[in-house]
Point group: C2
Chain length 116, copies 2
Amino acid sequence: MSTAELDAGVAARLKRDDRGLVAAVVQDASSLAVLMVGWMDDVALARTLATRRTTFWSRSRGAYWVKGETSGNIQTVREVRLDCDGDTVLVTVDQVGPACHTGAATCFDDGLLELS
Amino acid sequence: MSTAELDAGVAARLKRDDRGLVAAVVQDASSLAVLMVGWMDDVALARTLATRRTTFWSRSRGAYWVKGETSGNIQTVREVRLDCDGDTVLVTVDQVGPACHTGAATCFDDGLLELS
């Protein structure tokens, strides 16, 4: 695992939630599809910036995970952008294979809600 | 304000955080740019689905807000999709004017981080 530390200037701009996390929206650099949303603490963000592999904090498992580490469906980072109020990052990636653990191209493919 | 109630089937699929919120990623239907991320509880999501105007819960102000209500930079909803694990919705919109309160087109325009 990377031992990268987050730049102090970036760390100062983060507005973390009660668990110390920011939302990380992952967008495909080619199709511009929104692939998934994960969660990052300072360590996960630092590792993502240093390794160019998206690294998240799993709120359910309480552990770091690198996207594609098991499945091979890795995300190579092109850009990371922090939003205006510091509680979300937008990560633009080159995605190998499907992004969703279900095998769908994105985590939103099967979730269309009815407008009421 | 809309008094819409969230469909029980949808409500059962939501995995809310400690504050009862899911993340709401807003994407421009034309450019596919990720415009902003807000937060929705059941009421905000129900209002978004019913009114076709994005409605969020402000974690800092502790109040509902409708995007563009003050600025006129409204978002008309085309689609809402729930992700595979139920903690995020992707809202596709037609955006009037800039999406960010700073006047930038998106909330991520000025936030490019350096890959280390």
